[in-house]
Subunit: 102 residues, 2 copies
């Protein structure tokens, strides 16, 4: 089973980035409990004030899909939605390097 990675770019509505970061970080507790979530890093940009990038790595694509059905995740998405102007995601497949067990 191959790993599943994503870069997700959220564009926050003006002035809402920090609140959206906070909501995205609240999801961390659930992620810590899911062994199949290997990486969930929330990033901001120093050049794009409304941008938030989330780096995710999951042990397999199914684990990622299943995480979206968790009640906690759904509640978090519902609270985040009104603050989001746009979402773009790039799906990638980690093949090696430092920071994951390969």
């Amino acid at each position: 089973m191959s790993r599943f990675g994503m870069y997700v770019k959220f564009t926050a509505k003006p002035g809402e980035r920090d609140t959206l970061v906070k909501i995205l970080l609240e999801g961390e507790a659930a992620m810590q409990a899911m062994e199949e979530c290997e990486l969930y890093i929330v990033n901001v940009s120093d050049t794009e004030p409304d941008a938030i990038w989330v780096t995710e790595v999951w042990s397999n694509p199914e684990a990622h899909r299943a995480s979206l059905d968790h009640e906690e995740t759904k509640a978090s998405i519902a609270r985040a939605m009104p603050l989001i102007a746009g979402v773009e995601s790039t799906t990638i497949r980690p093949v090696g390097g430092k920071g994951l067990r390969f």
Copy 2:
């Protein structure tokens, strides 16, 4: 000192992706030895056959810059250059999540 993150997208010349992945992964030994390199993950795309994405996180921007002056890194870049059709990078600042010590 804030962390420094990058997503670097390499577009390989046609047919050269796997060789380029190999060269990028050879850099891992040097990265493992650099404590300030917290993440260096080489990824491919299942939808863009020539694309390679590298996810990097460094303890600080200076450590990343200094790494580019290492003899091993420079030799690796010299070997990779002829295989690369394009490079785009996105600079990000990790603020929290799972997989790094925050």
